[in-house]
């Protein structure tokens, strides 16, 4: 099987990595060790940690960032960016069409109605809740991988509460501190305007009845949440309040903040809480994290919930295979970014092929996230394969199958020396009246040799991701 390495091509180090590799090779082993301990202490002192699930210790681990950044040349980035703008634009339209529009994609048979309505994240209560500029996915994190030929493909759309952007920003800060010289030798597109872009987008989504200077809050489940650091980070970057459910109160379909000076109206809630916890009147009644009446206030048009409720109808793994057709349907264009070839288990002829080739495919349960429940055919035991086959037959709607994508590798420091490790990329896309992509994104690394699972909760690491600004770079290099 073909394997694409980001740095080493058939003709040696790829040109856009030459500068970096030259600089890295000039560092002694002691230099490198020093820089790693600097990294460790930066993240530790800042308290940048994440919780590892499934471990007895309930560990909080320091954020693992590799010293070698990933570099994306400007031409490649231009394609990724255009592909993301096209894709997210369509997903916004699809959702708006589904919940407050004519449901034309369903009506015209582009995607079966039952597939949409049985999607785990489809929310019947979202029907009729408008979002002022149709930007239902204010923030999306689209997972992109590179196959054996080096083609970028979308692996997954995350349109609910995608996390990771804070690590993009903190990785960048850390990188400029530990490798300042290498950094200065490249023209790298900045990422630190994220907070102000996000705030602008959130304000633009405020309901028409809001004040001219709308009040935005970030709603977090609380300190115990594994992404709490990020919630606090974003609130700080935007200069808005970070609130918990108990800080908010709904009265007569308006949302208020409890403050030391009484109640204050809230116009936009950037929630980092899943749909099911948002409002005990509509969803889980036992949830104390949400705000009773919040969904009713959104329906009355007095508050905007961002991202909108019910976005899971568009990022479901069972809906994913239809996204290329949705792009063609809504735009009349071919998708710029391809999907990974995916088969759906509920189509009898596809199911037959899937079961036949189960040892070669990746089987994914549609309702799981974070890399859980995935069976990688070529690496699974016969026993696992046969239980999986049974599970698929019993409940075909719950599974999709994909061709194995041999994620690209990137040289990564493992115990002091460079070794290839598989990576992916999660760029962050902000939707408002226009769609903006933050240059780069979060590059995640599977630190275990040969592993394809990059999720930080399962022992993944990360890299700072550099998008080269070609025009400026030409000037820098000419110096």
């Amino acid at each position: 099987m073909l394997q694409f390495d980001e740095i080493h091509g058939p003709a040696g180090v790829r040109p856009h990595y030459e500068q970096l590799m030259e600089r890295l090779s000039s560092l002694s082993a002691t230099d490198l060790a020093d820089r790693f301990s600097m990294l460790e202490s930066i993240f530790r002192t800042l308290g940048i940690t994440f919780a590892v699930t499934g471990h007895e210790e309930g560990l909080e681990r320091t954020w693992p960032m590799d010293l070698v950044p990933r570099i994306i040349p400007s031409q490649e980035w231009r394609d990724i960016e255009a592909g993301l703008i096209q894709r997210v634009g369509v997903l916004n339209r699809f959702l708006d069409d589904l919940y407050v529009g004519e449901q034309s994609a369903v009506r015209d048979g582009i995607i079966p109605r039952w597939v949409v309505e049985t999607a785990d994240g489809y929310i019947r209560d979202a029907h009729g809740i408008t979002v002022p500029n149709g930007a239902r996915c204010v923030v999306s994190g689209v997972d992109i991988v590179r196959d054996g030929e080096g083609t970028y493909r979308v692996l997954e759309d995350n349109l609910r509460v995608p996390s990771g952007i804070s690590y993009v920003l903190e990785n960048r800060v850390a990188m400029t501190r530990v490798l300042p010289v290498a950094f200065a030798r490249h023209a790298i597109r900045p990422v630190d305007h994220y907070g102000s872009s996000l705030l602008r987008a959130l304000r633009a989504s405020a309901p028409p009845s809001a004040a001219s200077d709308p009040t935005v809050v970030v709603l977090t489940p609380g300190v115990a949440n594994s992404a709490y650091f990020e919630h606090a980070f974003l609130a700080r970057q935007m200069g808005v309040e970070l609130v918990e459910g108990r800080d908010l109160l709904v009265d007569d379909h308006y949302v208020y903040l409890r403050t030391t000076r009484g109640l204050q109206r809230v116009d936009v809630v950037y929630r980092r809480l899943n749909d099911e916890y948002l409002d005990p009147l509509i969803f889980r009644q036992d949830s104390l994290l949400g705000v009773p009446g919040l969904v009713g206030a959104a329906r009355a048009g007095n508050v905007t919930i961002a991202n909108a409720i019910g976005n899971g109808a568009a990022d479901d793994k069972g809906v994913y295979p239809f996204v290329p057709d949705l792009i063609r349907y809504y735009t009349g264009e071919e998708p710029i970014l391809d999907n990974v070839t995916t088969y759906v288990c509920w189509e009898p002829d596809q199911l037959e092929v899937i079961l036949e080739r189960i040892g070669e495919l990746v089987i994914k349960p549609v309702a799981e996230a974070g890399g859980y429940g995935i069976v990688i055919g070529p690496k699974a035991t016969d026993e696992t394969l046969s239980t999986t086959a049974e599970a698929i037959k019993a409940n075909p709607r719950n599974y999709v199958a994909q061709e194995v994508v041999q994620l690209s590798t990137h040289p990564t420091f493992i115990n002091g020396s460079l070794a290839p490790r598989h990576i992916d990329l999660r760029p962050f896309v902000i939707s408002s009246d226009t769609i903006e992509v933050v240059p780069g994104g979060l590059t995640r690394v599977a630190l275990r040799e040969g592993s394809l699972i990059v999720n930080s909760s399962q022992g993944g690491g990360s890299k700072d991701t550099w998008v080269i600004d070609q025009e400026v770079d030409d000037v820098v290099q000419a110096r």
């Binding site: 800042l46 308290g47 606090a232 980070f233 970070l242 800080d247 409890r258 403050t259 030391t260 109640l263």
Partner: protein
């Protein structure tokens, strides 16, 4: 500002002050015991527990090692230094977008230090060093807060918590130590007074403004009423009043302002000779009760924020 944040900041101030006071009193008690007859040991440690309101909860033996371990490292003791700093850090974590990064770092580093060090060994063999470090870490936190936080509501709530805690602690210290000395009729030991003064970091300041004769009523006056010493009860109450005036807006007649006005005036216009003549106890009891009223009024006014009432006001508006 969010009521929840205000409350967390207020308690952040209180916890740090409590940790620092506890460390200082422990340090003083250690050395006071070293210089006193052996029979004094259990009295001194028992009193320390009383000052910290822990005498009724504590079940272990009353000796230096057990009590100090309880006060420094015992996570089951909500009043221990480790617990206080743990809660400070919990609060600070929830306040990451409210406090400066430097302040968070100062708190986090202190917390990590405490959780990594072998504190039991520290308590037993190097108490002076350990307690000194704890005090200076607490002072660092307050200093960083003072130097990096804008003088906004958030900062005011930290200072409010800190000053209320300190006022209460000084009162409490006086009521336990002074009452015992006066009540037993024994001559006031020089060491005891020194230790009381040192417990609130007042020994040097006292010597500068008075002299080494350590006249009981002038020590008492200094700790209660000195307008310039930052740990005297009056100083703390004036600070509390100042913060509250800023927080509620000058000239407001709210429940909090009435409460602080009452207790500050009681301290301000009292006469030491009369108090000593009539017995210190009733005076200190009233003072403590009124300080407690202030804390309660702060809670109602800012943290519970009378939500229900305000909601009705909104509806009728």
């Amino acid at each position: 500002m969010l009521s929840r944040h205000a409350e967390d900041l207020f308690w952040l101030g209180r916890y740090v002050e409590r940790a620092e006071d506890t460390a200082r009193m422990l340090d003083v008690t250690f050395h006071h015991v070293l210089e006193s007859p052996p029979a004094f040991e259990s009295t001194a440690w028992g009193e320390l527990l009383e000052v910290l309101y822990l005498d009724e909860i504590y079940e272990g033996p009353i000796d230096g090692r057990s009590v100090s371990t309880y006060l420094v490292t015992d996570t089951d003791n909500p009043g221990s230094i480790v617990s206080a700093i743990g809660r400070t850090r919990d609060n600070a974590r929830g306040l990451r977008d409210r406090i400066s990064t430097e302040l968070w770092e100062a708190i986090n580093v202190f917390f990590l230090e405490l959780s990594e060090a072998d504190l039991n060994v520290g308590v037993e063999t190097r108490a002076y060093e350990l307690l000194g470090r704890i005090k200076s870490r607490c002072q660092l936190i307050n200093g960083v807060a003072a130097q990096t936080m804008p003088r906004d509501e958030g900062y005011r709530f930290i200072v409010l918590g800190l000053m209320l805690e300190r006022a209460e602690m000084t009162c409490r210290l006086l009521s336990i130590r002074y009452a015992r000395l006066v009540g037993s009729g024994e001559p006031l030991g020089f060491h005891t007074w020194v230790s009381v003064l040192k417990s609130v970091s007042a020994y040097e300041a006292y010597l500068k403004s008075h002299d080494a004769s350590l006249d009981p009523s002038s020590v008492l006056e200094f700790l209660l009423l000195d307008p310039e010493f930052p740990r005297s009860v009056l100083y703390c109450l004036r600070q509390v009043e100042r913060q509250l005036q800023i927080l509620t807006g000058e000239g407001q007649q709210t429940g909090v302002e009435r409460a602080i006005g009452r207790v500050r005036a009681r301290a301000e216009y009292c006469d030491i000779a009369t108090i000593v003549g009539a017995g210190l106890d009733p005076f200190l009891e009233d003072l403590q009760a009124e300080i407690y009223d202030v804390a309660e009024a702060v809670d109602v006014h800012f943290f519970r924020s009378g939500t229900d009432l305000q909601l009705h006001a909104f509806q009728s508006a």
